[in-house]
Amino acid sequence: MLDVGRHPNIELLAYSEVEKVEGEAGNFSVTVRRKARYVREDRCTGCGACAEKCPTLVPDAFNEGLRNRKAIYSLFAQGIPSTHTIDADHCRQMNGKKCGICAKTCQAEAIDFDQKDRILELNVAAIIIAAGYDVFDPSQIPEYRYQEIPNVVTAIEFERLLSASGPTGGHLDRPSDRAIEADIEEMEKSAGKSQKALVKFEEKYGESSAAFYEKYQSGAYPDDEDRKKWADKYADHLTVVEPLEALRKKAEGFDVARRLAFIQCVGSRDFRFYPFCSGYCCMHSIKEAIIAHEHGPDTTSTIFGMDIRAVGKGFEEYKIRGGNHSNITYVRGRVAEIVEGPDNNPVVIYEDTRERKVKRQEFDMVILATACAPSKGIAALVKTVGVELDPYNFLKTSPLSPVDTTTPGIFVCGCAESPMDVPESVAQASSAAERAAEIVFQTDLIKEKAVA
């Protein structure tokens, strides 16, 4: 990433979109919209002081909504470019409220609420489309209850939970437990507020609210208006504190997830959604199980799949190593349903196809290996660029020219072409680069001929 940001031959146009493409191989005119960040690239140092002070919280898409970011943000800590961006949908100032804290904080004077989108015209010989994919939304499969059971998560959410820079610092805290901890934090805030209101009375009358309340309830101060206020305030306080105590007790018993289930082919090899195999998900489940085991040696993982597809250099060995050293059990079967058991534990109901039996098993957390879905924006992009899609909405190619699109001079690589893992994406990317370079060198030849 750093190399891309630094390379003198690469003009990095982040936070930008292609709006128009005209022309043909060797000579395309391209219009690019550089969206306003409301932060000046030539000034922003990426220090993050603005984000630290910004009061507005927004669910952080990079962390799959598992934590919040600010309305002024960088996509992630090491993001290139590090220029911050104001999220105009959520920023107070941009929505008619008073704020501007970031502008006051920024030493570099980089904040510019009046910045406008800029239009850039480019002339290029060839185009490479590398627009990637989307993670399949598993809430389309009602029997897995992804939305309803908090401890059923997607594999990409699990990546963030495993990450030391992620929302849990790499601890496998269960989402249901995190939700309760967030509730506790909120309740502590309001308990703090109601406590403050009591202090005034406690100082005035020289006793604790609890001691006073006991006397008050047994009728000690019949016509005392001031003490009645105190009693009401204390009663309010109790409505917060009592459930707070109960939750705190519950939270004492919280533990990290140790019994994990991975469910394969969620949306893939499923005729309701995508008949194809997404290729990488068997491997990323094994990887996630291995890393989880590195974090906690007593972690056990069960991977439920029709079969495990470990097709690639070193992949089968990786799978076997996972089984031998990382407490992974591979179960051949298809999961019919996930229900919620006691203590927010998901229960997996499946057919063990080796034993030909329907079984139930309880876990701390279930991870869904979701399909590689075509990117939602791809239809609009290919219309702009002028290439065709296949029936699934990946770019149309042919087996003998896998990086050529339907238009000469326009190439494709990575998951925009079809589901593939990182090594394959890199190989295709180099191949697409070479095909595109041919066009550049051909234009050179044509020019040389014209001169001669």
Binding site: I10, F76, L122, I128, E159, G166, L381
Partner: protein
């Protein structure tokens, strides 16, 4: 006639294409719709089959 190349998408695939072309001496314009490049790979903790850090 131009000798530049446009790459759309700054995930691992777009970054690799851009670097290869740039190393050949070709000028690349890399368009990414999000505020930073990296794509899905930047979200991954580590990658199989070597468990190297993703970024």
């Amino acid at each position: 006639m131009s000798k530049d190349i446009l790459v759309i998408g700054g995930g691992i695939a777009g970054m690799q294409s851009s670097l290869d072309l740039a190393d050949m001496g070709i000028k690349v314009h890399l368009v990414e719709k999000l505020p930073s490049i990296g794509g899905k790979m930047a979200q991954l903790d580590k990658t199989f089959p070597t468990n190297d850090c993703a970024i």
